[in-house]
Symmetry: C2
Subunit: 697 residues, 2 copies
Amino acid sequence: MLDAFFAPRSIAVVGASRDEAKVGYAVFANLLAGGFAGTVFPINPSAEPILGRPAYPSLTALPEVVDLAVVVVPAQATIPVIEECGARGVPAAVVISAGFRETGPAGADLERRMLEAARAGGVRILGPNCLGFIATASGVNASFAPLMPAPGTISFLSQSGALGTAVLDWAAGEGIGLAHFVSLGNKADISEVDLIRAWGDEPATGVVVAYLEGIADGEGFVLAAQELGRRAPLIALMAGSSEAGARAVSSHTGTLAGSKAAYTAAFRKAGVIEAATVQELFDFAEGFSRQPLPAGPGVAILTNAGGPAILATDACERVGVRLARLGADTVEALRGVLPAAAALYNPVDVLGDADASRYETAARILVRDPAVNSLLVVLTPQAMTQAEDTARAVAAVASDAGVTTLAVFMGDRSVAAAVRALKDAGIAAYSFPEQAVATLGAMERHAAQRMRAPDPPMGVPADYHIVRAAIDHAREAGRTFITEESAGRIARAYGLPVPGSGLARDRTEAQVLAGRIGYPVVLKIASPDILHKTDIGGIALDIVDAAALEVAYERMMSSVRHRMPDAHVWGVTVQRQLPPGHEVIVGVHRDPSFGPVLMFGLGGVYVEVLKDVAFRLCPVTPTEARSMIEEIRGYGVLRGVRGAAPADIDSIVDAICRVSALAIDFPEVTELDINPLIVGRRGDGAFAADIRIGIGG
Amino acid sequence: MLDAFFAPRSIAVVGASRDEAKVGYAVFANLLAGGFAGTVFPINPSAEPILGRPAYPSLTALPEVVDLAVVVVPAQATIPVIEECGARGVPAAVVISAGFRETGPAGADLERRMLEAARAGGVRILGPNCLGFIATASGVNASFAPLMPAPGTISFLSQSGALGTAVLDWAAGEGIGLAHFVSLGNKADISEVDLIRAWGDEPATGVVVAYLEGIADGEGFVLAAQELGRRAPLIALMAGSSEAGARAVSSHTGTLAGSKAAYTAAFRKAGVIEAATVQELFDFAEGFSRQPLPAGPGVAILTNAGGPAILATDACERVGVRLARLGADTVEALRGVLPAAAALYNPVDVLGDADASRYETAARILVRDPAVNSLLVVLTPQAMTQAEDTARAVAAVASDAGVTTLAVFMGDRSVAAAVRALKDAGIAAYSFPEQAVATLGAMERHAAQRMRAPDPPMGVPADYHIVRAAIDHAREAGRTFITEESAGRIARAYGLPVPGSGLARDRTEAQVLAGRIGYPVVLKIASPDILHKTDIGGIALDIVDAAALEVAYERMMSSVRHRMPDAHVWGVTVQRQLPPGHEVIVGVHRDPSFGPVLMFGLGGVYVEVLKDVAFRLCPVTPTEARSMIEEIRGYGVLRGVRGAAPADIDSIVDAICRVSALAIDFPEVTELDINPLIVGRRGDGAFAADIRIGIGG
């Protein structure tokens, strides 16, 4: 899709320079040195040869139309270059030059005009204000980064050029190969969404790793990531997720960082593997790029020392990685070959004097156990340890068995050669047990997610006209919210359980209404003159049938006539009486990047004090709704504690899906809160006791 | 205190060998190679010279009495050696030999008998089943680890020998110096407590780093760590904190791991800096050993790239590190020297083309700002970057200013020399922003803790006789719990607010009793024949004075006589009526290592479902009690939400301190629960509605 960038036939460097201190020299030199098979033309008005290549004064002067222009002229000069690209039919341009949106309003205006020129001429732009990009398969180093990484399966995109240079440096040092490296810069045109989409179609990319500071097209991101995720994992670090960090982002590249709740929900929806730190981004990339996904849960830990195995076990519990329960025949087989003092149960400790062959023998037994879907090999350099031989032996076992294998070889110089051997053999290697276990956890979760059945949203038939009319009515009245009565009608139009209510002018009307609403009902005196209904007998609860209603109605009227003879009485409000139940909140707000985000939580102090809530991106499927209910810490309250009856979870799932459908169908709904949704016992349903709807757009 | 180990005048290796494959050779060779100035004698029955040193058949045959025996004979042979040590007056022995407690009951018995021999002969023992130890100042490498670390200020102790070897390897690779390295092994005699105590008195140790799998003498640990903490930080990683991990520990060294709640409370009490992972253990050691503690909060971030600064800012928010608010003159000074596009507010971005002098100039301005108590220097290798010169320049500024300085130089080969320069100049250097920020957070917390005023427990005068009598009474009755009535008396003896109650045989007695207890009171019919008091009018609430009591009493008696004429009535129970309030739990359980651990939480689902509780080691001071109340997530409920009145926090603090005093004074109390303590509004006090006390020992 972005072939003109990643696999061009020929390239021009506009602003190529003979001055070695200039970026225009570095970029040109990198392109020549990177192994690109096509022609690279320097464009420079001076027209003297650069690095032995004849220079041309302009793109127009070139003997052929190039696929890619690398632009390193000053910001002001970029617009004519892009126009020339359009005129000559050059489909792709990397604008490395800085001096655009990152510098303020004038630069933003320049960027906008450059983009207009690009759109008009049919030119796609990467940048501006970026480091450029590298595609190892085609040998294109269209960047001013001095290091050409080895070919590999990781495609890396970074919204920070500086972090990009550090990553290239690490990749070189650690022997990590890359398929692509892209510095996004200001993302005037090409964004992370375009790249993820392009790499989703390209088999050379096995893993996508992303450093992001904001996502403008949230919906596009989720779709592209889901599509990619069917084939390759996307590992992302989202910077600026803290409040202070978000301020730093704004001053940095001018992108508004999505709120943490929204992008975390989006990552979950899209199946993105979220890294919490740069270290984790690298650790995950190491595991996902070198090893196959585990076929299921159940790790066997193989170690020559107790301490590190304990640390690994602790980490497994923290991360939610389950230790495999070894079969009896496995334990017997181990007993047959290991010294008497060895630990035969998981973790399997082959003892401090284990040589490479003892590791190998134990590993071969472990990978045959059907309960073992991954192997964590831990080694500390002790007196008899053969680190390098162990590395090779374990790698051979792993490769034969196809079992996901991660290694933790602890130490520095004593294990350096062994770590190199592990990586060369395709085993993911780490310094600390916690890193390996966190990575394995991410791999297990991703594997489970790939195997999950399709999870369609619930079909919610609704009376759209009612909603449309209510919204139009509120807008015409200049309001940014829907009245309580209209909100109830909208909710009902989407099948949400709103307790029935209505005004009855006399007893017979009240009985008819109550019959329609369903008993038990509550009667309330309806009068503009009566504020404190309770004081004068203006409220009657627990009315279970028509006969009881008659009694209550007459008593109420007589009491009111007696105590407030002058009050103007319209009649009575008849309301369905809500059963006692748990109060929960179902709400939606609209994130500028990701659209409607649904929140669920227990009501009252749980939300206000404990902030015990879960978020999902809409549309929320029934499976997702259930998972968000189970995710909150207070879930046990709904499940029932100390013999209390469980709440009607199904009715919450239903309400969540209906609210989600409403938010998707009507983008004008900017926020919606059902607070509380009163949830009865299992089978008793739930009722939306109070609904607020805000509108905009 | 352990001078015979760490600064011996002469050493004997019992079991020294000429066979290079044997530990007895490695240990002897290491001792000769380590730079030890005293004599090292090989002891071997064969009596042939080893590495050119004449061997002796026994300790007794030596020409002098050595200070230290390094024992590498088979397990069975160790007892006579230790006996010989005692007989000859050798005060210290490192038993490297394995084959003791770690192998099962027979080994445990051997270990016990060896310890008896040591105690009888006045010999201190390190080990058995350990790697040995290293003391760099005296050049003693009494271990079979092949690497002698450089001298330094870190003293490291490890319950895992294997982790120890990995640490020595890392220390060598990273250029980290050590004062001492000790492998604890089975801890038959010398434990972490002895070492912490010894190093607390020894100025060569600047930082103590510990890897632990269990702490047997919890009280000793807390005292020793507190004493050390006045002078030097103790950084510890506690392995086996998960349930699965604890099982792995048990099979590993046979130590029962303290429960997580108990040791976390102990670390807090003792001022121990807890590392969550091995990586964090190293990161913290790097920061604490190289840099002074910050004088206060407020970090300035100095960077040449936006992305990493955002990551650092995110990490600051997560960890609770506050960014310094730069003074107006600082900002102006920066504006005067930095390019127009630089970010002048914290984080200060000197831009991608910053050379060393620009970093230096900005750093000099920042460290002068009184709001800046620490400096985080972030560098990514870009085109114009002078990493090594920047390292030296920044180190010079830091050393002049005495401001805590941590550096994050991102990348691999491009920054390797710079990182070396940073470390050589005493700057703590990290690869990732998150590592540096986590370390700075730990340093800030430790600094704040050192500056904290003494925090004595509350004096709790109590009537010990009542408690003693109740415990004795229960024991004599063969019970492991105190009866409800006795528990109330015990609580009252410690000044805990227990609602008054008593039995009155007639109306007059009831009035007298109520007058003593204080109105309002509740009356309950007292009869062995009446189970369901409410049904027959046997309970009266809200009795506010003597007149009301009379009415209620007569009505109750008449109702009971009428409905259950045959019931035998003793009279009425008069109880103080508790005001409505929040239900909280104050409990104590006794940890096998750390003694009484106090728990506080909100009652009901907060404890049962949300597990929202805080733990502290007893004695709990008023300051600690307040901090544990503020620590729980539901604290807002007590502070008052949505205009609700705040609860009487002072009365909870008081109750916690009294329960703590009771647990300290009476070790027989194995558990105690006040559940609920009903807490009224501020000024209204609290009442222990239900008290359960378990006893043992």
